[in-house]
Subunit: 156 residues, 2 copies
């Protein structure tokens, strides 16, 4: 092994270590965001308004179709409580992508959803579409919803 080869081998080792460290650093907040996304879904399955609202940042916004932006806990609570009150309301979503800034304070999840309910005329309505959520890390280390938006894949 020449001295050049030794230097090259040492550099590869250092780079691999750095890459592993970077991977470790990135994996942790991404998994935390995935867990926050899954925990929020549980509050929707349980139709637990308090916990669903608690998952949102104090300055959070829900951008639901067919209604203006709802910003802040009060407006978010009204929107979620109205949704959960729909007859046979059932919403599930499936995360597909997750990402986080290098600084670990801002991230996102995106995926698809399936939603069903019974309308005022007693008709069963089924919808499917996609969502995008921006997560903000809180002072206590938890991740909360800063923005959440969805829309349908079905024809207009």
């Amino acid at each position: 092994m020449t001295s050049t080869q030794r230097i090259a081998a040492a550099m590869i080792f250092l780079l691999a270590g750095a890459a592993a460290t970077i991977g470790q650093t990135n994996r942790s907040p991404e998994n935390a965001i995935r867990a926050a996304d899954a925990a929020w879904l549980k509050t929707y399955v349980a139709k637990d308004v308090d916990e669903a609202v608690a998952a949102c940042d104090d300055q959070g916004s829900l951008l639901e179709p067919n209604t203006p932006i709802a910003t802040g806990k009060k407006a978010i609570r009204e929107l979620i409580a109205g949704d959960f009150a729909m007859k046979d309301y059932k919403l599930v979503w499936h995360g597909d992508k997750v990402g986080v800034a290098r600084s670990g304070d801002l991230g996102y999840t995106s995926g698809t959803y399936d939603w069903s309910y019974t309308d005022a005329a007693g008709k069963s309505i089924k919808d499917k579409g996609k969502y995008l959520t921006i997560w903000k890390k809180q002072a206590d280390g938890s991740w909360k919803v800063l923005f959440d938006m969805f829309n349908t894949d079905l024809p207009a």
Copy 2:
């Protein structure tokens, strides 16, 4: 001035300086994202498909209503070209919020839009709603669209 007051005054000065520095650091990428948002709007006003597509990250996704997620330049081009081909297509948006991660590699814009076109039956359609865009900083320092989503405020 007691020594406690002097220490308190010194701390306030240091904190104000730190806050100003943080503000300076944050303001720069936020303004860059605002500029990228405004530049992307110009490509829609000009109905310039090439430039509108070029504003998107290679792994970017458009989450438009009434169609599945379009990911990657090819799918994004088809979607945008289809939109621009609509008769009397006119879309403008108005940024309201902007934010960026501390690391300056991921940010968002959100606001409202006004959209109008003439449908196949010759009827003028007007829509208004809200949008959410996630921006990713590129290797060359530019900001490109990683996710873009919108939905209507109008009743279903």
